[in-house]
Subunit: 196 residues, 2 copies
DNA sequence: CCCCGACCGGACACCGCTGTCCGGTTAGGT
DNA sequence: ACCTAACCGGACAGCGGTGTCCGGTCGGGG
């Protein structure tokens, strides 16, 4: 019977917990120090040895892909029911919010694409956005002239705004201003707490 | 009497030429291999020793700043006479073109800003754009609602498009599509050879 | 013609990161 | 209670980049 709280990180049963600790540590350190942070620091932050790190994730890229996987899983959950009220707007906000969480994501995306010939692995946004966008357009919430392609281009633009922002505290508002400039329907005010 | 062609890169008189060779090499290698290219490679590419490199440019940042300096000098030349026909459109195109020349510029900008507290050193675009924009707006070429601030935000968006482009050959057209999305007046077709 | 100061260049020591290897530890099965 | 297989962790060697140091080279001035 597995205890939910472990006193140790040794033994076969700890493998899963160690993996998660490494993933969390990587997410934190990538966000704080950038994608080029030493992997030894990730192991230290996770409280495991370097051996464990390299066993679970042979290289930096595997860490990045696992983090992407988590993010995409969350988005796919949001996109699962396109007819839920506010499905598209919640999805779109979450995409932008994920991007805002760490400017390191840009470097990760770039590096992952350079090393992986197949773009599909690294960019699942087209499939994720397709249905929710169509439904939102049918409901008149999003202009018809915006294609999935346009949305992805807008997302890429936001990368530029975030990565060039001097003060991290301003990243969010700059990104929202940028989105409003592209198309008002893609932006929102943070005052409205939910737009279900 | 200085000869325009030198047979050697030794001696006091070669200092200037060596400096330029280093700058050109850095520009080339940053564009090709990214900002993190080894400085030893820059010295080799320039055909000088590492000693000369570090004498002219104590660190990587000095190289980057000198490259920016060249770029800004060119832009300031274009902006010197805001009333020349097509002054703003030529200036704006050149800004975008400079950005397209190397995706490494993004990393350079980010790194330079992180290390230099004073933003003015690294971003002179506001001053450069101010007068030409006003004149172009007075002539009805650019919508009044676009501020210098908006233009700079648009420029930062373009960074994102360029850096996330998988195929470098597509960077230009993607950037132009993105600009058109923000505001048609900021984009152009590459077919028109000049819009003086 | 010679000398002197300045500059060049690459060898090299230092440093931090990567990835591996093996002794030590743990849980579960018998 | 013991045994075994799997897993942990950190020491360590290898590697590549940085920045320095000094012997060698050059050109202009006296």
């Amino acid at each position: 019977m597995p205890t939910t709280q472990r006193a140790t990180n040794r033994g076969p049963a700890a493998a899963g917990a160690n993996r998660r600790a490494l993933l969390d540590a990587a997410r934190r350190l990538f966000a704080e120090h950038g994608y080029e942070v030493p992997l030894s620091a990730v192991a230290r932050e996770a409280g495991v040895g370097q051996g464990s790190l390299y066993r679970h994730f042979p290289g930096r890229l595997d860490l990045a892909l696992a983090i992407f996987e988590d993010n995409y899983a969350e988005l796919e959950r949001l996109a699962a029911d396109p007819h839920a009220p506010g499905a598209f707007s919640q999805l779109w906000r979450r995409i932008i919010d994920q991007t805002l969480e760490s400017r390191a994501f840009v470097e990760m995306v770039v590096e992952a694409r350079r090393q992986l010939p197949d773009v599909k692995v690294v960019n699942r946004l087209p499939e994720i956005l397709e249905d929710p966008l169509r439904v939102a357009q049918a409901a008149g919430l999003i202009p018809r002239e915006l294609s999935v392609h346009d949305l992805i281009l807008a997302h890429r633009m936001i990368y530029g705004v975030i990565v060039t922002e001097t003060d991290p505290a301003l990243a969010r508002s700059s990104a929202l201003r940028a989105l409003a400039m592209v198309n008002p329907a893609l932006s929102w005010s943070d005052d409205e707490r939910d737009t279900a």
